[in-house]
Each structure stands twice: as structure tokens, then as C-alpha cells.
């Protein structure tokens, strides 16, 4: 008698330790092999784009903290940068440098989480993650020192930053930055030479260069596939053109390459922070912006390289105090478009590793 087989559906999330928030997907399986993937969004949809139309430009900064909550500083930066472009505001140099220091610290922190959770998903349960948390904690302490917050910073303002750094900040930053490369190398060696990790990440979840471009992916996912594209170089904003740094890329586009790109980027960020601290000028931290801010009519798109990819704001102004339309270019949502191609045909055991290598944050997918 011939055995009858049929595909079956398995539900992952929205409450699942590996889905990093409330992401959900429905997998169709043929035995162990994934036949189809359907991501299901919306569990964290708060309608931020609509809410933003009801508040003024300054109040909307608060919403940006709640997008990608693992990288609130860069969200702030993308937003204020777009509004400044709309209003034609010149930001004082010191504020630009402070923003870059915060943004690069944020990138390190976000990549630590990405790498830590990826290893967690691959089965190196909690140990590496907690080490990553240890380093992230120091970054959060630095942010706490600057703005009194550890998650939703609301630090940047239209025209500058909310407050100058306290006296004890730079020594603490120096101590942290000096220790960081050693830390990254130590754990990278410990993990990247681990046979199990290599087998689970190399040649798994390959995203070709053409597909990466076709799916509009950005950030480490795009660069992991060998495309040298970084907004900090391609379209330099703030004062990034004054720093020397490399854009690391992968060759194959597998899970390991995306992991590698993040590790290298942490080194580059350390580099940028060192240069920024050395060049940090004295002076004002806020431009003169009217208390009731009314940008001229028009529309603008401002973008930055956030830890997860290109983060941008499309703003339409009708000349009033509130934005007429505010659209967020969400790197995590767009990167996930490639998920189907990455997952179809692989074994279910690799699904979470592939998913973790994309590095998403649901706050910014659902908005």
C-alpha cells in the first residue's frame, strides 16, 4: 500500500521567543522542508503615520522613539534631519557631532542585539546574548547620562539636541570605546571559529546580489550580498564626509556574511566615534528655531543609514504646524520581502537562523 503524504501548516508567533517581538509567520511544510512562508503583520500597528498628522513637528519626535525601539537615536536623527531639510535649518556643528556619536553608539548596540539574538536562535542559548547585553548596558548607561533615558531617548530636536553632554560623559565613552574592539574580537573568535556555528550559518539562506537589489533590501542584508551601498557614503548626511571609514561587504550573501558585516560594522563605528570625539568642536547645541515651527509648503525625503538599513521620512507640509503627511521608510519591513525566497526549500531547523540574520524590529514594521 502506498503511503499518503500531505503538507501541513505550522504557525510561528506572534508570541515566540525567536520572533523578536510580535512577528508571526505561517509556514507550510512538506515533511521538514518549507514550501511556503506567509508573514502576518499588524500585531503592533499603532497607526503612527496617522497619529503624526494630528500633532506638531516637535511632538512627533516622541513617536519616532517607538518605531525601531532598539535604535531610537537613529530614528530621532532620521526624523529631525528630514524636518530640518524641509525647514532649511542649519544645525550647529557641535550638535552634528553629538548626533553622530549617539547614532554610532546606537548602531553598535543594535548590532550587538542582532548578533546576540542570531546566536540565541541558532542554539547558543543565552550565554552569548548575555555577554552582548553586558556591553549594551554600558551604552545605555552612556545614553542615560546624556538624556536620562535608557530606551526612548527623545534626545534630538529640530535644530540640534536637547542638552549638551555632561562632564563625565567623554571619559566614560573613552573607557568604553577602548575596551570594545577587544571585546568584539574575543567573542567573534570564540564564535566564528566554532564548527557548529559555521555549519549552521555558511551556505545557509543565500540571497544573491541580484535578488537583494530586486527586493529593495537595505543595510547589512544588502551589503551581506556584496552590494557596497551605505547612505553614509552614497549620500553623506550630517558631517559623515569628514570621517574615514570602510563599508564592509559580504561575498556570498549567506547568514554568515550578514553576521560578519555586522561584526565589521561595529569596528567601523568604533572608529567613527574615536574620530568624532577627537574633532568634537565647542559651541552651541541648538539652532534658533521658532517655538511655533511652521515649515514652508512642500515635500521632502530625508534618509539615514540606520543599523537595520535605510531609514527615511517622507514629509509633506501644507505650511501649518502639523505635517500633512508623514511616511516612514521602514527598513525591516522591506528587508522581510526577501524572506520568502530565503526560506522556501530550506529545512525548518534553519528557518530561525535565516530569520534572525535579517534582524527586524516589529515596532518599525507595523508602525
Amino acid at each position: 500500500m502506498a503511503l499518503k503524504t500531505e503538507t501541513f501548516m505550522i504557525n510561528v508567533g506572534p508570541q515566540h521567543p525567536s520572533t523578536h517581538g510580535v512577528f508571526r509567520m505561517r509556514l507550510t511544510l512538506n515533511g521538514e522542508v518549507i514550501q511556503d512562508v506567509e508573514p502576518v503583520f499588524g500585531y503592533l500597528h499603532r497607526g503612527i503615520e496617522k497619529l503624526a498628522e494630528g500633532l506638531n513637528y516637535t511632538q512627533d519626535i516622541v513617536f519616532t522613539d517607538r518605531l525601531d525601539y532598539l535604535a531610537s537615536m537613529t530614528n530621532n536623527q532620521a526624523y529631525v534631519l528630514s524636518v530640518e531639510k524641509l525647514g532649511g535649518i542649519q544645525v550647529p556643528e557641535r550638535a552634528e557631532y553629538l548626533r553622530i556619536i549617539m547614532a554610532e553608539l546606537m548602531r553598535i548596540s543594535s548590532h550587538l542585539m542582532a548578533v546576540g539574538f542570531l546566536l540565541n536562535d541558532l542554539g547558543a542559548f543565552l550565554t552569548p546574548l548575555l555577554y552582548m547585553y553586558r556591553e549594551r548596558e554600558k551604552i545605555l548607561d552612556l545614553f542615560d547620562m546624556v538624556c536620562g533615558q535608557r530606551l526612548t531617548y527623545n534626545y534630538m530636536r529640530i535644530g540640534g539636541v536637547s542638552q549638551d553632554i555632561p562632564e563625565e560623559f567623554l571619559p566614560a565613552l573613552k573607557k568604553f570605546i577602548d575596551s570594545l574592539p577587544g571585546f568584539i574580537n574575543e567573542y567573534d573568535q570564540l564564535l566564528a571559529e566554532n564548527e557548529i556555528l559555521l555549519v549552521r550559518t555558511k551556505n545557509v539562506g543565500i540571497l544573491s546580489r541580484e535578488s537583494a537589489i530586486n527586493y529593495s533590501t537595505a543595510g547589512p542584508v544588502l551589503r551581506g550580498s556584496g552590494v557596497k551601498w551605505d547612505i553614509r557614503k552614497a549620500d553623506p548626511y550630517s558631517v559623515y564626509d569628514r570621517f574615514k571609514f570602510e563599508v564592509p561587504t559580504g561575498t556570498k550573501g549567506d547568514v554568515y556574511d550578514r553576521y560578519r558585516v555586522r561584526i565589521e560594522e561595529m569596528h567601523q563605528s568604533t572608529n567613527i566615534i574615536e574620530q568624532a570625539v577627537a574633532q568634537l568642536p565647542q559651541g552651541e547645541i541648538m539652532a534658533k528655531v521658532p517655538r511655533v515651527f511652521r515649515p514652508p509648503k512642500g515635500e521632502v525625503y530625508g534618509h539615514i543609514e540606520s543599523p537595520k538599513g535605510e531609514f527615511g521620512f517622507y514629509l509633506v507640509s501644507d505650511g501649518s504646524t502639523n505635517p500633512y503627511r508623514l511616511h516612514i521608510r521602514p527598513p525591516s519591513l522591506i528587508n522581510l520581502t526577501a524572506l520568502r525566497e530565503l526560506m522556501i526549500g530550506v529545512k525548518i531547523a534553519d528557518a530561525m537562523g535565516i530569520f534572525g540574520s535579517i534582524d527586524i524590529c516589529v515596532g518599525e514594521i507595523d508602525r
Binding site: 503583520f41 499588524g42 549620500d235 521608510r329 508602525r367
Partner: protein, 147 residues
């Protein structure tokens, strides 16, 4: 620095290849007629020298008398960019061609616009609501939406 390609240059090429497709242009923005959108997009993607191989984002705005759908195209090789727009007058079931066959990255973004603006993308293989649930009344990002 990403070069914002002057719209005039593009318009000249477009007028030669697809006459009467352009409505207006300014800065680095080209507005095309909705029925020409797919042809214009595939022209921009495949023409040597333009090579817009990367669709950066899609969004829409409700100007009350019409909807505007905005596409930001980038060429990663030449590092230049362009804003492509089209306008839809209909408020009941506005329709526009899906660009998913040109750039697969359009998938979730077109679903998002469908979900929040009620704009239909013809040719999209899986056009259904993305953030809100089926049966949600109205389209929240429309200006005439009332809770």
C-alpha cells in the same frame, strides 16, 4: 552624493519613447499619467544610462481631490535618483498597475497602501490588508476618514 537627476533630461527621453506620458515635472520629480505608469517604470529600469534597478520606497498621499502615489527610484550603479509620481482622481476603488514584476520589493509596500489608502494595485498576486484586519471599515490614511 546621490545625484538627483534633473527631471528635464528624463522627460526628454520619456517623450521620445512614450509620447504624452508625462503630465508635469519639476526638480527631480516627474509626474506621469496613471495608464502609462508601468511602461514608464519599465523604461526607466531597462534603459541604459538610466538603469533604475532599485526601488527605494513607495508611498501615497491623499490631496483630497486626488491621490498621489510616489515611487523613489535609485540606480545603485550610477548613484542617481528620481521621484516618479502618478495621480489618481477616483475615490471609489482607485486603480494603478502593480510594479511587483519589475521590483519585487514593491510587495508589502503596495499592500500597505492598499490597506491604508484603499488604492488597488492591479496585477499584485496577493493584494490584501497587511496591518489592519479584513473587514476594517474605511482607509485610515485618507483625509476624509472618520473613526
Amino acid at each position: 552624493m546621490t545625484i538627483a537627476l534633473p527631471a528635464l533630461e528624463i522627460v526628454t527621453k520619456l517623450e521620445a519613447a512614450l509620447p504624452e506620458s508625462v503630465v508635469e515635472s519639476s526638480g527631480n520629480t516627474v509626474v506621469v499619467k496613471d495608464e502609462f505608469l508601468f511602461k514608464v517604470a519599465s523604461f526607466l529600469k531597462t534603459t541604459p544610462g538610466l538603469d533604475f534597478n532599485y526601488l527605494n520606497y513607495i508611498t501615497a498621499t491623499d490631496y483630497q481631490t486626488y491621490f498621489e502615489v510616489i515611487y523613489n527610484l535609485i540606480s545603485l550603479e550610477h548613484n542617481h535618483g528620481l521621484i516618479l509620481k502618478t495621480r489618481l482622481i477616483a475615490r471609489e476603488k482607485p486603480r494603478i498597475a502593480s510594479l511587483i514584476s519589475l521590483w519585487a520589493g514593491a510587495d508589502f509596500q503596495e499592500r500597505e497602501i492598499f490597506d491604508l489608502f484603499g488604492i488597488n494595485f492591479t496585477g499584485h498576486p496577493n493584494l490584501k490588508r497587511i496591518f489592519l484586519w479584513e473587514g476594517f471599515p474605511g482607509y485610515p490614511l485618507r483625509k476624509d476618514y472618520r473613526q
